[in-house]
């Protein structure tokens, strides 16, 4: 059975107040068509987990500008002044997480791990409120898994079973998020026949993917 569905079908799945992971790094590898439709639809009070809030007119930034985001868990907001403005005005909560820690926390959720110990953030404000664990006389922070209700991803080539191949720098957080959300939706730049992606080169197995939509024009 093909997982390819109409865009309208997946929009219904994103509901007010949900925790949503969105792939991409400064909007490269972000499902822009889905985001545009979410902006149109106006779903609100979202908690977004993402690498960065991109730009005001690009990627996740559009949801921020349209005030659909209640909270964002991210590593960088510097390219989108509107995120900083809403944060300073108390309109949106911003949790800043070191990029490598963000990646590991998402991976840990997908991998069934209870957490990971990282040296990153020791001696900084990042350690506030976190358990410190000594291993071989070195301090580490215990960082906990991050899960989502839904993940919105972008694949360069996606087959009907949901196997995904990413081109160049579009990969970033997409394969990690695919493992860590209850429902996973991939926006495909190109939908290919099952078997067209060499089984050795598939990056995200179709077992992680629930729905595929074709990128719009």
């Amino acid at each position: 059975m093909s997982k390819v569905v109409e865009l309208e079908r997946v929009l219904e799945l994103v509901k007010d107040g949900m925790v949503v992971m969105i792939g991409g790094f400064l909007a490269v590898g972000t499902p822009e068509t889905i985001i545009d439709k979410l902006v149109e639809k106006g779903v609100k009070d979202l908690t977004i987990i993402c690498n960065d809030t991109a730009f005001p007119d690009k990627g996740i930034g559009k949801l921020v500008v349209n005030k659909q985001v209640k909270r964002v868990i991210t590593s960088h907001i510097g390219t989108n002044p509107e995120t900083g403005r809403q944060m300073n005005a108390g309109e949106m909560e911003v949790d800043l997480v070191p990029q490598g820690t963000l990646a590991e926390r998402i991976r840990a959720a997908g991998a069934g791990l209870g957490g990971i110990l990282t040296p990153t953030g020791i001696g900084t404000v990042v350690e506030e409120g976190k358990e410190k664990i000594l291993v071989n006389n070195k301090e580490y922070l215990l960082e906990l898994p991050l899960k989502a209700d839904i993940a919105l991803l972008r694949g360069s080539k996606v087959d009907a079973k949901g196997n995904v191949w990413y081109n160049n720098a579009t990969r970033n957080f997409n394969p990690l998020m695919a493992t860590a959300a209850d429902v996973v939706i991939v926006e495909a730049e190109e939908i290919v026949e099952t078997g067209d992606i060499d089984a050795n080169n598939v990056v995200t197995s179709g077992i992680f993917v629930d729905y595929i939509v074709k990128e719009g024009k």
Partner: protein, 216 residues
Amino acid sequence: MDYREKIARRVAMELEDGDIVNLGIGMPTMVANYVSDDIEVILQSENGFIGMGTAPKAGEEDKDLVNAGAMPVTVKKGACFFDSATSFVIIRGGHVDATVLGALQVDAKGNLANWMIPGKMVPGMGGAMDLVVGAKKVIIAMEHTAKGRPKILKECTLPLTAAGEVDLIVTEMGVMEVTDKGLVLKEIAEGVTVDEIKAATEADLIIPSDLKQMNV
């Protein structure tokens, strides 16, 4: 030569053949332009690849290929793409030989602050905290002062990026090494006196007997 080029040229001299290097956004990115042709430096980009090349020609940009600052780039033959977890396996796991980053403040203990000014500018740490903790050598490339005020302090006052991880500071005035005893001025720029650099630096500078001139 403007001060940015001067700093970038001097930092480039720190890199060795075969080094895996991650360059921060801004002045650090310029370092790639001044690496000697006699050596090969392999650039890692934390958004997911090894083997970053030069900027593409106008019109030849690939929408799927940018650096960590969203600028179009190319990759060299033998490059490799990966996801963000693997990118930070490389970074946090000690597989990066050197990282070059800018700073808001840096201090005599090797503490670095470069990701926020509370209540004013909070871009976030991005990959900087992992880079500074994970890279074998952390080089700070920056202007010596900001609006005439020292950036090299006895102790950072802004929220830290990492504690005690900085190895070397390169500015337009000189090259300083972080040691157990404090900041050692290794090289001083042409036309700058020791008194001038001391005056522009809040931290104490140890002046070694073999202080060299900063040649770029």
